[in-house]
Amino acid sequence: MKPTSTPRSVDGEPTLFPTGVHDIRTRADLFLQDHDLQGAVREATTLKDQARRDALGEAFGNDVDKLRSIASEIKRHTIDHLDHYLDQWISNAQAAGTQVHLAIDAEEANRIVVEIAREKNAKLCVKSKSMVTEETHLVPQLQAAGVETVETDLGEFIIQIDDDAPSHIVMPMIHKDRKSVARAFERELGARYTEEPEELTRIAREHLREKYRQADLGISGGNFLVSESGSVVICTNEGNGRFCTSAPKTHIAVVGIEKVVPGFDDLSLLLHLLARSATGQPLTCYTQILTGPRRDGELDGPTEMHVVLVDAGRTRILADPEFRESLSCIRCGACLNACPVYRKATGHAYGSVYSGPIGAVITPLLQGLDKNPTLPEASSLCGACHEACPVAIDLPRMLVALRGRTRKRRGTLGERFGLTLLRWSFSSVFMYRISTGLQAFFMRCISGESDRLRSAPGPFSGWTRERDLVIPDRRSFRQRWRERGGSTR
């Protein structure tokens, strides 16, 4: 999926940030044709999924599920009392000298940040990774206001200079290969062409160090807000987040209101789960606990700390008991790595900032189901996301519930006929045997001599478009079981 080969639009909507109604099925078809992309995403997600299991198993053994349910309980409790904990967080943050601002929607959040930048007369802003600012499309707003804004997370930096968009919550450039990085660095930074990841990283390091030194504004997200102390907690690996929150005079953290947790006890459990679920590390390399601007006597740090608390659709989810649970998400990306649909379709197919199972649930909730009517279909309901989630969010349940909200219509005549047949075939052992026998018979008729069916007729062709169907043996499983001497009831 190099920028040269990916079309800029699918179905008349931009590929990266569609604004109108879009269909994941047509978008996924496009990405399914890119075999390099498929291979890269499959490998990265499989490795991270295994790393998660290993890290959690090694640290907690059989207690993992108990800890997940405690974590889930902590988040549920906090969300159920969001008014209390958020209010307490604001009071404590203000007492520590943090300036807190409240934004009802994305536009207001961007407006507040731009206004602070203008007041501080900021010319250069260094920014660390933040999903909520992706949601609000903050960077173009700052650029338009004349503030040069540089993404400093390596992946986000590459994506920014290559005019691309992140496709994974934790591994933003999972869809890009080293060649595209090499080309972008040569084109945009005037660097010598090299495909060595080590050398590419060094080029970015040198380029960004200059930016940290000159920047007068730093912007970050926040992984957690600790209510008892008014702290913002930021988990990063590269160190760019530390630069953005320490080097410039002014720091602004943009954070969703659902990020609050009651206290440090609760935080410790969520930290134990977050990095292990995301990358298999015990903790991210740097976990920063930021409580207000530089204190009297401290040798450095920003002289002003601002936090913009963003609603942008979250209270709408809060008001809906069926989906409130989705606000517990700690953005670890484990459900993306575990999801067979994400692995095939890949992040950009979802056409939203949040992809994978969690994206298929919260994108329609945050933006409206009318714009994203097919996202809840992007799941086989296998349950892998539910099992992977460190806070045990029941994503399959919510995907089904969302489907219920889009499917108010009756099926077509063909669909209803098919479902009636299906119901009959499951109605008794006798009917089941008849129906499976007939299915196998018809499949053999169509496939001729071959043991595989490569293209099925009519409405069944969708099934064989991406894979072959194995033709069943002439003898049923039950027959073969009996022949081997197995007992039957």
Binding site: H81, I116, D177, E238, S268, L283, Y286, D300
Partner: protein, 232 residues
């Protein structure tokens, strides 16, 4: 405060929660100690705690060496020379004795103190030396804090970071950061204001963004050495 007024903002949240008046909040009761009962946690024995810390810190890519309080200066110089370091930024910490600076200079290592110019910090310092306020055995982490003794940038800008860690500051688990234990007050929680920035360091700066290839020293230090002061 910019943006929406606090009462309007909270009105929306209370509406969503279907509450008209101030909430009656049920307390959150969860068994946090379950975290510590994990099969790898080492609760109380200090020497077992110390060896667990070493094992875990090495596992996340940091180097650990040990010394006694009275051999601190010598061990520090040895460590720095072995790592090929020729200039350091020193903290203003009582742990370092008066003759530390002299000993380092005698060994051919240029020393800077907190009065250093920021540009010099970016260009001239090979290694920032800081003192850990606490360390966590179960994750192999050291915690550094912003203060009047240490810059935030000391453990971030130079390519190497040397952490001095008195053994008694190792706590068993993250949860102990917020719970006072025998003879120690908790660095988080309890009374007393927090510093503006606490950083739990668990390994050198790293990334795997380009095709999953692991690279250390992206923006922060690529090498973190811990000097563990035994019996201190």
């Amino acid at each position: 405060m910019k943006g929406t007024a606090r009462d309007v903002f909270f009105e929306r949240i209370r509406d969503a929660l279907n509450r008209s008046q101030q909430p009656t909040r049920e307390p959150l009761v969860v068994d946090h100690d379950l975290i510590r009962r994990g099969k790898n946690s080492v609760p109380e024995d200090p020497s077992a705690r110390s060896s667990l810390f070493k094992e875990r810190a090495i596992a996340v890519g940091m180097e650990v060496s040990c010394c006694k309080k009275n051999t601190l200066n010598k061990s520090m110089v040895d460590r720095l020379i072995r790592a090929g370091i020729s200039s350091v930024l020193l903290p203003d910490d009582p742990l370092l004795e008066n003759d530390s600076t002299q000993l380092l200079q005698d060994a051919g290592i240029a020393t800077h103190d907190n009065g250093i110019d920021i540009d010099q910090l970016y260009t001239e310092v090979d290694c920032g030396i800081t003192v850990a306020i606490v360390a966590v055995a179960s994750t192999g982490s050291v915690v550094v804090a912003s203060s009047d003794r240490e810059r935030r940038l000391a453990s971030l800008v130079p390519p190497n970071h040397l952490v001095l860690l008195p053994e008694s500051r190792i706590v068993p688990d993250l949860i102990d950061l917020s719970r006072s234990s025998a003879g120690q007050t908790a660095p988080l929680g309890g009374s007393g204001a927090l510093p503006s920035c606490l950083t739990i360091v668990t390994g050198p700066s790293k990334t795997a963004d380009i095709e999953g290839v692991l690279i250390t020293g992206v923006h922060g230090p690529g090498r973190v050495d811990i000097l563990l002061l035994e019996g201190c």
